[in-house]
Amino acid sequence: MMNCEQATQLLSVGMERKLKLKEQAELKMHLLICSGCRQFGQQVQQLRTIIRATKDSSDKPEEKK
């Protein structure tokens, strides 16, 4: 059975490459029973979203004429 340390690693790696089917299945099982890791997964995605949102709003300053 996967533990939280391994689950959080997979959640992070999953943002960089597609997980293998076996990894996906084990991670899914773990997330079903672990709210901490579910939150971790949401938070790291949320960080990506908000960092990109700030960038879009201040992008391409040279064109702001």
């Binding site: 533990n3 939280c4 340390e5 391994q6 960089e16 901490g36 939150q39 949320q46 201040s58 040279e62």
Partner: protein
Amino acid sequence: MTDDFLQVSEREVGELRQQMLAFTRLQLANDFAAEDIVQEALAGALKNAASFTRQANLKTWVFAILKHKITDHLRRQYREPQQDLLDECKNCGHSDDQIFNNELFDDRGHWYADAKPQRWGDADRMVHDEQFWRVFDTCLAGLPPEQGRVFMMREFIELDSDEICAALQLSTSNLHVLLYRARLRLRECLEDSWVKAGEKRS
């Protein structure tokens, strides 16, 4: 509008320059290149002062230019990898990281109760919360430098894994380790300094 820009005091420009340098150094291994890029970005901002409007906060404006300069630099580096770059991997087995993990996870690898991630507020509110971004800057600056650098190259500049690995002469698996550690530390710091501190404030 140009006048508004010129009203910024020398002290403010000095502070801004320091913030820009800290930000750039985080992402480039080379201090000389960082100085050059900051200088270019500041010069570019002054040259385009006429298009700087009141609505745009000075810092946001200058940093937007800076981000483009850093992106250009990293992309150039990607095309012509520097041989003298250090292999960041020697930092991959940081003993501090093991100690940090031991504070989060028990010996079976499960979250300690007080380290377990809590629910955060919604993303839209965070984007526009200045307090949040101040905490974010502090947390980012607190990461081991090689972790902060790859995190920002990946999330902010949005380089892909291959580009980062080529620029820093890193293997893909080591990049993934560094990104994981950066995310683990950053979210922990944000939760402690922003989410939990916010609960105490309200």
